[in-house]
Amino acid sequence: MKLSEDQIIQLAPDSASVKAGQQLANNAKWVTKYVHEKAMWGDCQGSGKNPYRTMVDLQQVAFKCSCPSRKFPCKHGLGLLFLHAQSPGVFTGATELEPQVEEWLGKRESKSAAKPAKESKPTDNKAQEKRAEEREKKVSGGMEELRTWLKDLVRNGIMHIPAAAHKFSSNIVARMVDAQAPAVASSLRRLSDLNYYQDGWQKPFLRSITSLYLLTEAHKNIAQCDATLQADIRMLIGWSIPKEQVLETAGLTDNWAVLAKTYDTEERLTVEKIWLYSYQSERFALLLSFYGPGQSPQQALIPGTTVAAELVFYPSAVPMRALVKQQKGTRPVLQPATGQDFAALLTKVSDTLAVMPFAVQIPFIGDAVRVVYQNQSWHLADASDSTLPLLNPEPDCWRMLAITGGATCTAFIIYEPAGANIHSFWFDYVFYTLT
């Protein structure tokens, strides 16, 4: 499968690797270049005596290179893909894989087929229970403290918040960390990121603090909630479910379109979000990964491709977060024909909030939508002229307008109370990503 320049950029660990890779997208730098339906490989003349052997698995995008770089993928892997995107004609079409490439692909296949079960360490159940009990206590105390803090906040008024935006919540954030409620701490930290210079900041601020208050109330009454909502509440507070536990549940095997891939930074951690969509079950999935400093993203899923995979979902009232249990081939993404307008989106929002009142991001694929630029503000309109404010940065909006020329397209959006954020779209059956 041929990847576009944008898709290759999404695979790079950083912008320096993109630049270095693009500079290697030069026929003269490569001694040999071969492409096969399963893989692509070549020898790149570096500064050393012997050229580096670079291999790319095209079925489940993966890289291997003999260079000493610690980056993954290295500039040679990216360079080979860039060269193929720019000048596929310079590659020799191979009918058979070279032994070295075949061996590597074989190893990968056998590895994924027989993933060794994580050796379970002998557990001290008593100690574990004690720890869990202690945490429950700490969290309960923390939630009580948060309730008191929120009440104090509204009692004293919120007009002074913009002036102290960066420090007003610092003490309670520290307390939530101590109370082992890290997700609540993150939510409180995000209060500082609100745009207090914008008119009407009070509404999103109130939405955030009342949602936190609702969470404390939900925690208080958790026993009365059903199991899936309980899982949501615990996750929103900061309990994590071990991956192994999720992987043991029954999965959903389907062709999943990779719609978008985004990176955010949160407290020195890189948060990777990959949005997937199944055409058959018309269902969205979110692969959420966290990487520490210096760690490279491990998910080699490329927006604009479809992967045949089995996904398992974390328990939730609205199951969205998922893990890849098994992954097979990759092929280009097709334009979905959902035929849905914003009325369907609003129904979805209502349905979601009815079972999961803490949901803030709701994925949606809108048909026949158009970008509207009027009075220096951006909107997204559907076929019946209903409009949502566009939350994308302005360069993205101009790019989309340039491509569509004011005509309608099919767009993958993330709905938020403030408006819509377009992550990718199809125009003339071509997939474009904005992330």
């Binding site: 030069n26 509204v154 007009m159 009070q202 109130l206 009342t210 609003l346 929002v349 009142p357 909107h379």
Partner: protein, 480 residues
């Protein structure tokens, strides 16, 4: 309401009233009521949201009438724009124009942003953006300046760059109309703008401009007066030019001297009894020599020569350019006069005088090459690379990216390896675009040098970059 009056839910819907009653019944305190009620209200609002309607449609972009560049070429342009490789971006624009193609829409916003920054290349950038680019520029207020207003309004409503471009084009096609435009409007402009517009009269300068230029000699701006004098001094046939000619004739006489009692030789004699006319002093000819050991009369002659048309020596003294050069270069004041002669050759673009000067070996003015066609500049490589490598190279760079002969490139590389900092990185890259692919092995030779001194390392890296540019150019040419 509890510290804020900014957000007060007004009339509550029935379902909220019901919820409100329950909340109050089980409330801990008034803050608890407020927080729960607000949470419920906001959720209800979200769940029952009604979106505003807007039937506004942007005018749909017109169909593109030109062919798009290939996806491969577009990927290269994307790379150039992202890495801010201006030299390659400009080459891309040139190739696009030559091929009559336009850029794919996805790259238009970035290209239009770049066009706004590149004031002098806006027209070229906009051209390769095609009809979609023009449509897009019409929507974004920041890009609207790229669009040329209707021709009849440009002079009144265009930006300064657009007005200048309009005036330049008008002067080229209809010199009299351009002059009339200045006559009617010049005084409304600022001093700097007046001077800049006057400078454009150099194009198609004729005696019909004299009266207007003379009227500008009383302008209140010194800069405007200087430009007017400059134009009048170089306007063949103007009163000022005639005064310069008369003054030169009164200063210079050619005499024959006997050499070794056998042959005769012509020599220049300067009449030191002549006074500098006041009119010429007012026109910028300096009265007193500013150079040590140079007499005033010799100094006046040097200044006058610079403004006299090279044909003056043929018309008044029957001297061919070669004879004139020979006479001046053999005089003891040649260091003073020969550069002026070179200035005159450059000012009037006189190939005869230029060739004579270059062949005489007496002058090392690299700017003389500007008078010659590109193909003739190459043969002077040996003369100018040692001292004027940078200026010489600039004279070889042309808008059509003509390949510079390998011998000239090799000579320049040899020289620049000794002094790699005489030209900047951008010039090296621009030069690479005019190198034929057969220069790659030569560059490779420099890249593989063993010497690791700082200077050599810099030059090696530069050569590696130049190789990359050549290869990228070839890739682009093959894919566009």
């Amino acid at each position: 309401m509890m510290g804020t009056s900014k957000f007060v839910p007004t009339a509550l819907p029935p379902v909220m009233q019901e919820a409100n009653e329950k909340i109050i019944a089980a409330s801990e305190d008034r803050e608890d009521i407020f927080l729960k009620l607000t949470a419920g209200y906001l959720l209800l609002e979200e769940a029952g949201k009604k979106l505003p309607e807007n039937s506004f449609w942007l005018p749909v972009a017109p169909e593109e009438d030109k062919q798009f560049v290939s996806a491969e070429a577009s990927a290269l342009l994307n790379q150039f724009l992202k890495n801010k490789e201006d030299v390659l971006t400009e080459y891309f624009i040139y190739r696009c124009q030559v091929k009559g193609k336009v850029v794919l829409p996805a790259l238009l916003p970035e290209l239009l942003n770049r066009a706004v920054e590149k004031k002098h290349q806006r027209a070229q950038f906009l051209q390769v953006c095609g009809t979609r680019g023009t449509w897009l520029a019409g929507i974004n207020p920041q890009w609207q300046q790229l669009l040329t207003p209707p021709e009849e309004n440009i002079w009144e409503t265009g930006t300064w760059e657009q007005r200048k471009a309009y005036f330049r084009a008008l002067r080229q096609s209809f010199p009299a109309e351009a002059l009339a435009l200045l006559l009617a409007n010049l005084q409304e402009e600022t001093a700097n703008n007046r001077a800049e517009l006057l400078e454009y009269l150099q194009q198609s300068l004729s005696l019909s401009d004299e009266a207007f230029l003379t009227s500008q000699l009383t302008d209140r701006s010194t800069r405007v007066r200087q430009v007017a004098y400059d134009l009048l001094r170089s306007l063949h046939g103007s009163a000022l030019y005639q005064a310069l000619e008369a003054f030169a004739r009164s200063l210079v006489s050619i005499k024959e001297e006997r050499v070794l009692l056998i042959t005769k030789k012509k020599v220049i004699q300067v009449n030191r009894a002549v006074e500098l006319p006041e009119a010429l002093a007012a026109a910028g000819i300096e009265k007193v020599s500013s150079q040590k050991d140079v007499q005033d009369a010799d100094y006046w002659l040097a200044q006058t020569i610079a403004y006299l048309h090279p044909a003056f020596w043929q018309e008044n003294y029957q001297l061919t350019p070669q004879e004139a050069v020979q006479l001046f270069t053999s005089h003891k004041e040649q260091k003073l006069w020969v550069p002026s002669l070179a200035q005159s050759a450059v000012r009037y673009g006189h190939p005869g005088m230029t060739t004579a000067l270059l062949e005489s070996d007496a002058v090392a003015a690299v700017e003389l090459l500007a008078v010659l066609p590109l193909a003739e500049r190459y043969k002077w490589a040996e003369r100018f690379t040692a001292q004027h490598a940078s200026s010489y190279l600039h004279l070889l760079l042309d808008e059509k990216y003509t390949f510079i002969p390998a011998a000239v490139c090799t000579l320049l590389l040899k020289q620049l390896m000794q002094q790699p900092y005489t030209i900047n990185q951008q010039d090296y890259l621009r030069w690479a675009l005019q190198m034929a692919p057969d220069m790659l092995p030569v560059l490779q030779g420099y890249i593989m040098q063993e010497n690791e001194t700082y200077q050599v390392r810099y030059f090696k890296n530069t050569c590696a970059e130049m190789s990359r540019i050549i290869q990228t150019r070839e890739q682009l040419n093959a894919s566009i």
